[in-house]
Symmetry: C2
Subunit: 483 residues, 2 copies
């Protein structure tokens, strides 16, 4: 990186830091107005943005239009959440002379913005996890300025989106410096090392995320690093479900594992089925063979998919059930299905549970549901885990469901993990290595909690209190008084 | 460490891991019962525990009795907090077919226990931040088993407290393995590296905390590390306050800076006073000269205090105002006062803001309150910051108060930072290096949030839902339904 580029990155982070007090001090309605303005602007520019996105990502207009709608909805949901004022978690303890073990002073605590946030955009959601995506929206909602490091997979879309965002924020009279875009790997690392940065969020590969997490931890002033690194999202099909709904499950699985060319962090890459459920595996294989190859986000993604599939196929005990053949594999690889027995899977350890980003399923056959508990407990942390079972089996699945929930951020029943709904109760996270921060989520309104820091005021006069802690409560936020 | 000792540590962590599901699944009333039982048992054994503590720490029966009461109170406050069920943050989103951008499934999210927690006990609070102290209580309240690494400064007290805890937990029929004590630095490191560990909490020195934080970050599975590393807790006295209440402020300052031989992480080691406030500095110096030397927690603490004081005294522009002399310095060093001008302080950078653990104050004289903003903004992260000012000045202090609050976890007005009240609204934390986790607190009921992990259940039958997420809500926890 040239000196000029380095200087540009430093100036960008400094400008974000300069904007931090204004962003943190912005009222809920001001913040919500900015979020809503960006949502409106994205929809106004929909046609041009989707066309640019499609040219760069090959994801197709239907998916991209849906994703843009989701992104706008997400911004508005955060706007609604900010308006409730719940994020401030305002707690007012009145003076209590009799409080043990000594008189309690007037204490007021709220959560305020952490400061400038660096967002590393993802490749696979060019809207929803990119420039104006979930990390950006949640950091803004928390009152933080955001510097986005563009993903090189869609540079032109990133610039266009950034222009839309800048214009919308200016029209909403949002604080200057609340948003900036930088490009290039080295620029991202420079920004991550900048002393004024307060936190970083990342969605992407395990390797990339861990490298950045290490940089964040090794700074002179270490900062929170929220990395969502993906997982294989195990699915367990019970004997009862395999018997009762073999076709339905095969259909659903193939739809989920090939959706978006398998380029989802919630892609169900690992499927446990009863050994006797040959019809289910056949049904999956037949359907997969009928799914045409689809262009992936870029050559580097397709290469990674091919390499990952080769690596898995060579593990002891793995047999290839479905593989793409012929010329289509070059630009638009087709889906793959591998299979192995539980004993071989267990023996392979984490080599069998590494994410292979793309439309690949690894079927693991088991004899007895009770024997799955150990394998599940040994799984690395997962974003999701799913159970496909009959209602009559539910009562007997408590232990397995508990084991799955202990390794994952979300447990699904007879549903597929792709398609993450943006709601208050969504949890998109999980134990390491699904994420680097298991106490947090990167989807849903709770995502903004990542960018808040509590501060208490002891016996301070009203003039010095932030609005959420004042008795006259000018922002009308919920206040928890004396417990 | 011998193989036997290593094996013991590993077995201890494994036992905690085995207890994790039972602890996480314990009902609020069961958890609260265990916390209360420990509180009761500590008070029953008060006389013996305080005597042992005094022999090992020289803190004196008055302080130690108070601290034991505080520790018991803290356990009961967490019990009360657990009973409210608020910690589960239960969110139930009902299915919503019209939800954009696609039908919303039944989604239920709560926060469950993170898993086994390692607590590194502190030296300076042999009850409140040790075996059954705040970190232990908050981890238990969150539903986590705890392994405490005893502080070598009070080994016998640690063992005695552990025996009291074990007995109380057994009588309360708490899950086996919910508590264990280990001893020795290497044992602590082994436990921190154990794959089954989920989080660690630490209160102590910056050097020790940073070394442990690095180990936690470099594990194969990195885990959250909550380190409270102390700070110098700046205090600003305004010209108005210095004129109006010189005697009162001198009295208060000397009481706070020498309390407990200055062995508090909230000790006000840095005092900004107007240059004209010679009477204030004289008043402090006179009083400090009258404070006799006091025994410190151990020889290693007294040595660190002497070395830190020598280092500060040698900084350019520092003059020594009060220093202990004579024979009392050996076992029971007296208080110290240093002074320098704002320009020299600024020039010294972080060399002038390193914590010197003990009864030492560094006075920095300034000409104009407006000039303090820059120095305050350059401060490392602090647990607390205090303003001593006249009510008539409040309106003009917004910028300075904002700058102080931006660098600290708690802002005080005309009060002293020592004596941290245990309440709902307390915040004991702050930007790095005051803590390694600026989004958290280690005192007050919010401390339990450090040990919780969100999990969502999508469309799961009631038999597989944890109690806080069930429609019949058997634990009676607050549920936020559809936002």
């Amino acid at each position: 990186m040239s000196d000029t580029e380095t200087t540009h990155v430093h100036e960008t982070v400094r400008a974000a830091a300069a904007a931090a007090p204004a962003c943190a001090g912005a009222s809920p309605s001001h913040r919500a107005g900015a979020l809503t303005a960006v949502a409106d602007a994205l929809e106004t520019e929909r046609a041009a943005l989707v066309a640019t996105a499609d040219a760069e990502t090959s994801l197709g207009p239907a998916r991209l239009n849906g994703e843009l709608s989701r992104t706008a909805f997400q911004l508005r949901l955060f706007a609604d959440e900010v308006r409730t004022g719940a994020l401030f978690d305002a707690r007012l303890d009145r003076p209590a002379p009799e409080w043990p073990p000594g008189p309690r002073p007037d204490l007021r605590r709220y959560r305020t913005a952490l400061g400038p946030v660096l967002v590393f955009a993802a490749s696979n959601f060019p809207f929803a996890f990119s420039v104006a995506g979930g990390d950006t929206a949640s950091a803004w909602a928390a009152g933080c300025p955001v510097v986005v490091k563009a993903h090189p997979g869609h540079p032109e879309l990133s610039r266009r989106t950034a222009a839309v965002v800048r214009r919308a924020l200016a029209e909403a009279e949002a604080p200057q410096g609340m948003f900036a875009l930088i490009e290039g790997e080295q620029a991202g690392v420079e920004a991550l090392r900048h002393p004024a940065l307060a936190a970083a969020a990342f969605t992407g590969s395990q390797r990339g995320g861990l490298a950045l997490a290490r940089i964040a931890a090794e700074r002179g002033t270490p900062i929170p690093f929220y990395g969502e690194l993906g997982s294989v999202n195990p699915v367990v099909v019970t004997p009862g479900a395999a018997r009762a709904r073999s076709e339905e499950i095969a259909e659903g699985y193939v739809g989920s594992v090939t959706q978006g060319a398998g380029q989802f962090c919630t892609n169900p890459g690992l499927l446990f089925v009863p050994r006797a459920a040959e019809a289910l595996v056949d049904g999956i294989a037949t359907r997969l063979r009928g799914v045409p190859g689809a262009p992936m986000l870029g050559g580097w993604i397709a290469d990674g998919y091919a390499a990952g599939a080769r690596r898995l196929a060579k593990l002891p005990g793995v047999r290839t059930v479905v593989r793409p053949d012929g010329p289509e594999e070059a630009g638009a690889p087709g889906p793959r299905l591998l299979a192995m027995e539980l004993a071989a899977f267990t023996a392979a350890g984490t080599a069998a549970t590494e994410e292979c980003f793309g439309p690949l399923g690894l079927v693991v056959t088991y004899d007895d549901v009770a024997a799955l508990g150990e394998a599940v407990a040994a799984l690395p942390g997962q974003l999701t885990a799913s159970l496909h079972a009959e209602p009559s089996e539910a009562a007997g699945l408590g232990a397995l469901a508990g084991a799955l929930a202990a390794r994952a951020g979300r447990l699904l029943w007879n549903q597929w993990p792709t398609g993450v709904s943006v709601t208050h109760a969504m949890q998109h996270g999980g134990p390491f290595p699904a994420t680097t921060a298991p106490t947090t989520t990167s989807v849903g309104t709770a995502a903004l909690e990542r960018f808040l820091r509590p501060v208490a005021y002891q016996s301070c006069p009203p003039q010095l209190l932030p609005p959420p802690l004042r008795d006259d409560n000018p922002w009308g936020v919920p206040q928890r008084v004396s417990g």
